[in-house]
């Protein structure tokens, strides 16, 4: 309820409410963007852009279309993908699609050293590689069910249920983490 009220205030251009939402979601948005652009500095810049966009387009959000987080998640993914598709970026990084968010855990030489790898390991333990891929593609890359099925070469009808069991596993890990 508090979140709903906050969103209402934000949509009325309440800068205080906006700041609270910014504090609530900035890390998440930046994290998701970073899985796409693989560059923390760039990810931070894009995250700022995304929040500017969110403020400007606050009126276009409607609860009946989905969760507020889903709305800003979508804006963030699109902004990051636009950046990746830009020519200048293509020159720098060519093979992004093969990387998943956990693919960097074991890369000691990457710029991901500032990520909470220990926390991440705990969250994704017991998760099959396919689960990590599904979660990454659906939530962090914004793929459709069909695109996930094609990318991972699995039947379209199983994406929904497999994702459900992957998320359940993740939730279990989180619960264990908290306990």
């Amino acid at each position: 309820m508090e979140l709903d009220a906050l969103i209402v205030r934000f949509q009325k251009k309440d800068i205080i409410a906006f700041e609270r939402l910014y504090d609530m979601y900035w890390d998440n948005i930046c994290g998701v963007i970073n899985t796409i652009v693989q560059d923390t500095n760039l990810a931070e810049e894009i995250a700022q852009d995304v929040f500017v966009k969110i403020w400007k387009n606050s009126a276009s959000y409607n609860a009946s279309k989905g969760r507020f987080f889903t709305w800003i998640l979508n804006i963030a993914r699109n902004a990051a993908i636009d950046e990746v598709r830009s020519k200048s970026f293509k020159k720098q990084k060519m093979n992004l699609s093969a990387d998943y968010f956990v693919g960097t855990i074991d890369d000691s030489d990457s710029d991901q050293i500032d990520i909470d790898t220990i926390g991440l390991r705990k969250l994704v333990k017991n998760l099959k590689e396919k689960c990590i891929q599904i979660i990454d593609l659906l939530y962090f890359k914004g793929y459709s069910q069909k695109e996930v099925a094609e990318q991972l070469a699995i039947p379209l009808g199983t994406v929904k249920t497999r994702n459900r069991s992957c998320i359940s596993q993740l939730r279990e890990n989180i619960t264990l983490e908290w306990m």
């Binding site: 910014y22 890390d27 700022q48 009946s64 969760r67 889903t70 979660i135 998320i167 939730r171």
Partner: protein
């Protein structure tokens, strides 16, 4: 509706991922409103994704923060303000010019005022001078009058009335003769204005034989103005006569132009 089955279908996970169609989204939203369990499940799924995206977020973040964001949001307002500022700068310039013009007008006004005051002061000064002269003259004429009065009321004065002669029967004059101081005051009030190029000359006369001696000219005779003249008379006069003579006077009187004549009463 079988809520458990609905939840187990995995549609809520896709809802949080944003992978459903608009119509499906509306349906889930409605179900979440109808069934609190569904809403709780959605929130739990979202919380898991938030947790995951939290741990993959850069930890040593060079996060610019909300202040930077506020600046960027306000930046657009700023640019509006800036364009407004340009106008304001213009206003400033206009105000400056207006002030300069006002200042110039003010200075001109002051200059005019000063000039006016100066000329007024000059006029007042001139008036003062004239008044001073008038006072001086008045004092002089008062002194003269005093002297005259003194002269004519002196106990040694002999008054001689000079009557009009053939040339000007209506003319008259008076001579106040102080034998002690040997001075004669002529009151020529009764003489007409002399024509241009002529002047009255006063004569002391001895009667037997008739010997005229010039006592002087009634210089600057002005009818209704300067008609009192003081002349020296060292003579043992028996009569006084006034003749009209060419300017500068004559050695002997022109008897044809004898205006007035009076005999001194023998004492």
């Amino acid at each position: 509706m079988d809520v458990e089955k609905y939840i187990a279908s995995g549609i809520l996970e896709l809802y949080v991922a944003g992978a459903l169609t608009e119509e499906q989204n509306r349906e889930v939203h409605q179900n979440a409103l109808d069934y609190p369990v569904i809403k709780e499940e959605i929130i739990a799924i979202e919380a898991a994704i938030l947790e995951l995206s939290q741990v993959i977020s850069p930890k040593i973040s060079k996060k610019k923060g909300f202040d930077d964001l506020k600046v960027r949001i306000a930046y657009k307002q700023d640019s509006k303000v800036r364009s407004f500022n340009v106008k304001r700068t213009n206003w400033g310039a206009y105000t400056g010019w207006a002030a300069a013009i006002l200042c110039a007008v003010g200075l001109m006004w002051f200059y005019n005022e000063r000039t006016q005051l100066e000329s007024n002061m000059k006029m007042v000064e001139m008036e003062n001078k004239i008044l001073q002269e008038q006072i001086f003259e008045a004092r002089g004429s008062l002194a003269k009058s005093d002297e005259l009065l003194k002269t004519i009321t002196d106990r040694n004065i002999t008054l001689v009335a000079l009557n009009g002669q053939e040339v000007a029967p209506d003319s008259y004059a008076k001579a106040y003769w102080n034998k002690e101081s040997k001075k004669v005051v002529i009151d020529a009030q009764g003489l007409p204005e002399p024509p241009d190029g002529f002047v009255y000359q006063v004569w002391s006369l001895k009667l037997d034989p008739l010997t005229p001696t010039s006592m002087g000219l009634l210089q600057d005779f002005v009818k209704d103005g300067n008609t009192i003249f003081s002349l020296d008379n060292p003579n043992d006069s028996q009569a006084f006569g006034i003749t009209l003579e060419p300017v500068g006077g004559s050695a002997t009187p022109t008897l044809e132009q004898l205006y007035t004549l009076g005999v001194v009463a023998s004492s």
